[in-house]
Each structure stands twice: as C-alpha cells, then as structure tokens.
C-alpha cells in the first residue's frame, strides 16, 4: 500500500476543509477502502477519517423520518433502528459478518454503491434523502450506475434520512463466499404507493422494478406480480449465477419480500 497522510477531523466543517485538498479521500469503516488500497486500486495522498465526528454518528427520528449519521456502523443501525424501521435494521444486521458490521458504515456503503451492496436497495426503495454538507440529494437522482453516484469530487455524505413505510422487507439471496447479495430485493409500502428496489442483479447497479411497483400498489400480494417477467438483458452474469438466473431471482425474491413485509 502506498503511504499517505492521515487526518481525523472532529467536525463536519473541518472534514469539508480537509477533503477539499487535491488527492484527499474519505475513510469511514475502511472495510471496502482498505482492501482496495492494498491492491493499489486507490492511492490517496491524504486519508480523512470521518469516524471521529460526533454529528455523523447515531440513529434518531426527526423531520422526514429516521435520520442516520453517515458514520454509523452497521451493527449500531441493526440495534438502534429496530424499533423504528425493522426492515432496515434487519438489512444492516445481515451485512457481512459481525466484525465487518462493527466497522463498516452506512455512508461508506452508500458512497461506494457496489452493485451487490445492501444499503443502496434500502435507500432507493425508501425514497431516502442523501445529505451532504451543502445539499440534499433524492435517492432517485443519487444512484447513477455501478460504483457511480451524484457525489462531486470531495463531497461526502453526512446523513441519510429514511421515510418510514407502513410495511417493508428486505430479502437477500446470499453469495455464500463474499456474503454480499447475489440478488436482493427491498419492498416498501407507503400510503402513496409501493417502491421495489433490486440490488446484486443489474450491470447498472441498484434499480427500481417499476412494473412490480405498479402491480403491488393496487394489490400488495405476491400473486399480483405472478404474471410479470423480468428481462435478463442487463443482468449480471458470473460464475455464481447467470443473467437468466438473476432475473428469475428478482421475481421470486420480490414475492417473498411482499409476503414477509411488516
């Protein structure tokens, strides 16, 4: 790994200043970034740790729903979101393994936008808002294809705000070696309709399955999607599963999520 200067600001304002310098990069739990740096796929000059900023930690209810600080580890979301948004807490509790959940953060996961990551499905299906020091980005505008987001150079996530649905569930088909999602579906029912977000399946990263949303908005049951088909054209094909297999999983897991929703 190439060496770098390490800084650990204790306020958002100091982090904004530190990340505005050329060659600076944010570090949260490091569960993705450290392995990437070991492979020399990333070689920042300055690493700015965001885990020492108190205003970026923790889960609380507030305007617009559940506010989660971007530097909150998965294990804390699993515990502290359970009473407010059980499907989101369960998703956080199913990421990786306990040691990964003690370090990895929601901000790091949402910023990275891995096509097989769990949180992007929750953010998109909930219609959540991604908050940065200077603006708020709606989930529908935020995700822009695998590993790609609306964040500008040097911009970082401080918080994610989740509207709380009446009912929701996340059903994940584990890729057993990596423990990421081979394919997973988050279904959320709001008073103005149902949102369905799929991760792990598409070459374009997380996406909304709008046909299923329409069907489920008029009839929230697994039966309602039984006549729909999912095109395999844009699906990921790898040694763990073909494109057709993933397309099939999308429908099966959506049905299971609807049945499991509470």
């Amino acid at each position: 790994m190439h060496n770098f200067d390490f800084v650990k600001p204790s306020s958002i304002a100091d982090a904004v200043a530190a990340l505005s310098s050329e060659g600076a990069q944010a570090l949260s739990g490091g569960q993705t970034l450290l392995p990437t740096m070991k492979q020399r796929l990333a070689a920042p000059d300055v690493l700015v740790s965001l885990t020492g900023i108190a205003e970026m930690q923790g889960v609380c209810t507030g305007e617009g729903g559940l506010h989660i600080g971007a530097a909150t580890p998965h294990a804390v979301v699993a515990r502290d979101a359970a009473a407010h948004y059980p499907a989101l807490a369960a998703l956080a509790g199913g990421i990786g393994d306990p040691a990964v959940r003690n370090r990895g953060t929601i901000g790091g996961s949402v910023a990275n936008n891995d096509p097989a990551a769990c949180y992007p499905a929750a953010v998109l299906a909930s219609g959540a808002t991604v908050v940065t020091p200077h603006r708020r980005i709606a989930a529908d505008d935020y995700f822009q294809g695998m590993f790609s987001t609306a964040l500008d150079e040097g911009e970082f996530i401080t918080q994610v705000i989740f509207p709380i649905p009446h009912k929701a569930a996340y059903v994940k088909f584990n890729q057993p070696a990596s423990r990421f999602a081979l394919t997973a579906v988050f279904v959320a029912q709001f008073s103005d309709g149902v949102r369905v977000a799929v991760t792990g399946a598409s070459n374009n990263g997380v996406f909304r399955w709008t046909e299923a949303e329409a069907a489920l908005s008029s009839d929230f049951s697994a039966k309602a999607i039984s006549d729909l088909t999912v095109a395999a054209d844009d699906m990921i094909s790898d040694l763990h599963g073909s494109a057709a297999y993933r397309a099939h999983l999308v429908k099966v897991l959506t049905g299971r999520a609807v049945t499991a929703a509470r």
Binding site: K8, K38, P98, A99, N102, R179
Partner: protein, 161 residues
C-alpha cells in the same frame, strides 16, 4: 513515522506507525504481540480479530492511527491474571476446538465478543456469529461445542454432524 498510543490488554503502550500501518502490524511488529494472526489480509478469514473498545474487528482492515487512544484486547489479554487459560481458551482446549491453531486467536476473540453480547447463545446463533471466521482444519463442530461449553451449556447435547 509518528508515535501512536493506545491501551492494549490494559496497559498504555505506544509504538511508531505510518499512516498505512495496519492495527495488526502495530500489534505484531510494533509491540511484538504475535498471537494475532494474519490469514488472508483481505478481511475474509477473521484470523486477525481483536477487540477495539469491546467490539470484534478485523485488525488487518483497520489503520492503527484510526484507533489511537482506544482500548484494544488481543488473544494475549485473554488468559487469567495467573497465566492460566481463560474460560473460552480452556473450552477450546477441552473440546478440541483447534487443530493447527492458526485461526484460533480470531475464533477465541470472536467467541468472547459473542458471549459478551449474548451469554447463552444457541448452536445456530454461534454458527451464525462465527460466519466471518474461517477454519481450514476442524470442520467447526468442535469450535461450536467449545463456545457452548464456555457459556456454561451442555456441549454433549449437541447433535453429531
């Protein structure tokens, strides 16, 4: 190089580190605490698990500087004050929870973290919690028995594989 200070196994320690120095390097090379092992170096195997402020973390995937000032506990901190094996370590020995021993420091640290959160875990809770700890030798069965025994439960009652 900068001096990085933290508390390891109850003692305040400091050692030189660069930005890129991993916690596991700090422990093994800086402090000579070679009980923590590096199996994969890619956060997959769990051999390097230690506790930072009471939480299990993979020390190959944390920078030493990022945990400066924290309380760290390693396998060397698991023995009793008189040097005899701690409860979890003794259970691993009694139930043959190890063969080559390479994964064992991480298994013991993860198991201890589980028992701190959940003092009487079921067999399935133990298997689930140890998902991030890979063992190439034991087939896991005796590890699970050891954790059941360490929590004061009857390991003999567990079904044979």
């Amino acid at each position: 190089m900068t001096k990085v200070t933290m508390t390891v196994n109850g003692k305040s320690v400091s050692a030189e580190a660069e930005g890129r120095t991993l916690l596991v390097q700090y422990l093994r090379e800086g402090l000579g605490l070679t009980g923590t092992h590096v199996g994969c170096d890619t956060s997959q195997c769990g051999a390097c698990v230690v506790h930072v402020d009471g939480k299990a973390v993979k020390s190959c995937t944390v920078f030493a500087m990022d945990v400066a000032g924290s309380e760290v506990c390693t396998i060397e901190g698991m023995a009793n004050a008189d040097g005899s094996l701690g409860v979890v370590q003794q259970a691993f020995q009694d139930h043959h929870g190890l063969q080559c021993g390479f994964c064992t420091p991480g298994m013991v640290m993860s198991s201890a973290a589980l028992l701190a959160e959940n003092p009487r875990p079921s067999e399935s809770e133990i298997r689930h919690y140890l998902e991030g700890n890979i063992c190439r030798c034991t087939g896991y069965h005796n590890i699970v028995k050891a954790v059941l025994a360490a929590s004061g439960q009857d390991a003999g009652a567990m079904a044979a594989e």
